[in-house]
Symmetry: C2
Subunit: 326 residues, 2 copies
């Protein structure tokens, strides 16, 4: 499904969702269109900062208010909607905060595992994909709970009833089977929002430039084994496994000394916005004189004193991550 | 500047800001336009739910990120930008939380008083308008601080320096004099956002219908002197002067009994969204068999168990509220 790109430098092209302003007629009321050049700004959905140019990839976008799930296709940085599906989300309105609150969490998530129907009670229908709620951003906000899945159902009428789950996102059985074909574990994002809102492209591009400058600095400090500059990219609240920033620094310094040289190739960068935070996901090729690995990396960024800092990071080996449910 | 409208039923017409999607070329990078019907939704800036049809009124919109102040004109529910001004806001990025944090608060505010230059140190230039920060929503969030003004300056070069204030919004002297002509104290809103974001008209209209249904219920319960239904419109956290909800109920019950009949006319309704809260501002004509008053009312609404409730309200007599600085 995905071929490793040989290009070292990825060209970033973001596409625009076409947001159309029309003479709208809703509920019998007329809305007048006013054309005002000052507000003639191009806008895009606020979750997207940048998508990579290159091979196809897929993104799932869930709009809770409309009880809709959109399967999006990114081709060369252009997003298209392949299909929209009906879905049902948590019974209670609002963002999930704690276990048992019957809410569907809002944020940018990845599917970390899949569960075939044979391993599940009938309630979950044709299969399930496990979201990484609570993720690093959620845990900072002391959100808790678990078991947020995208799954099918043996009662298709639940999909017609909106807001009928304990927090999971439920679609019809045929839809979970179809969606599974597009899901790559650890790589395909599922973005959950209450309403899709739109931001000006001008600011999105400013954010993108700032994030890419940060990413370049991080990569350069790693390749040059400059522990001081490398650690400056991390938040004082950064945690990695059981390590705090100080322990992480010692660990990294030790690892830096093992290798004569380090070369990092970054590809397929996707940048998402989650409230005021940034999530970067990319394919990372790590080469040294004595070691090689290749995987998908996620960097969770917050702003501290107006600079981006990594508050958490995740890596997983790229292997057969396809989401086909057997 | 404003003539009392005789129409009892106000017709609500909201206009659309024209948000244009173009082939954008920014910073030497090409952006491809993708036209996708599923995202062809009409969108409007997220602070506006509804503006009234009728006479002219003015709204000030400050976008901190762009250091821009927009003077907007509402004519029959259509918003136009009369002019955009350069401005300078707080030195620190982000929403104001406490006294001395050097941030400009984000929200929907009203000007409660004006101060002529003769009463001010030269620093404030040609005059100042006092914003009602912290307002009812801010105080619920335990935000504090004071002295957030829109004012001029005797150092016009400050406007060129972006983010150069302690939290005030500063414009050039000629601009504060010009803006003053459009400001009606207690009635002209000043909306402060970091970035203007846009919402789908579909959801804005749903919100509008819900808010107007609530307002109708509140008005009807007041006119019919139905204390139970009237109090159901208020939050259990409602405060009015020194009264909690229980004391307010007793007070209102007493007042209801004074009058044989009550008739409320509501005009020039403006509905704004401030995060997940709603602010309604309107002209209120209060008539009874023995008493009459006419003023501007602001209702501050929050959602509790998915229903709107009034968390606070303000009223001020309509008199000469024009903001001309002498």
């Amino acid at each position: 499904m995905r071929v490793f790109s040989q290009r070292i430098h990825t060209i970033f092209v973001i596409s625009l969702f076409f947001v159309n302003i029309i003479f709208a007629q809703t509920g019998g009321q007329n809305f007048d269109l006013a054309e005002y050049s000052d507000f003639s700004d191009p806008v895009i959905p606020s979750s997207f900062i940048s998508l990579y140019e290159g091979e196809d990839s897929y993104i799932i976008l869930v709009e809770k208010r409309g009880q809709k799930l959109f399967l999006l296709n990114n081709v060369n940085g252009n997003i298209s909607i392949i299909k929209s599906y009906l879905c049902s989300t948590g019974r209670k309105i609002g963002d999930k905060k704690e276990s048992g609150d019957l809410r569907t969490p809002e944020g940018v998530y990845f599917f970390r595992s899949k569960i075939d129907s044979t391993e599940l009670p009938p309630l979950y229908g044709a299969g399930a994909f496990v979201l990484d709620y609570p993720n690093i951003f959620d845990r900072i906000k002391h959100k808790n709970g678990y078991g947020i899945w995208l799954h099918g159902t043996n009662e298709p009428e639940r999909i017609q009833n909106s807001n009928d789950t304990k927090g999971c996102i439920v679609v019809k059985n045929e839809d979970i089977l179809e969606l599974g074909k597009y899901i790559v574990l650890n790589e395909t994002p599922i973005i959950v929002v209450n309403e899709i809102v739109y931001r000006k492209l001008e600011y999105v591009n400013k954010d993108k430039d700032e994030v890419l400058t940060f990413l370049k600095k991080w990569k350069k400090s790693w390749e040059s084994k400059n522990i001081k500059e490398y650690i400056q990219c991390y938040s004082r609240y950064f945690k990695f496994r059981k390590m705090n920033l100080k322990a992480f620094r010692s660990y990294k310094k030790r690892v830096f000394n093992i290798y004569k040289w380090i070369k990092i190739n970054i590809n397929n960068i996707q940048i998402f916005k989650s409230e005021s935070n940034i999530l970067i996901s990319f394919l990372q090729e790590f080469k040294t004189d004595s070691y090689y690995d290749y995987g998908v990396k996620q960097l969770y960024l917050t702003k501290e004193d107006n600079s981006y800092k990594i508050i958490g990071e995740l890596w997983s080996k790229v292997e057969d991550n396809t989401g086909n449910i057997k």
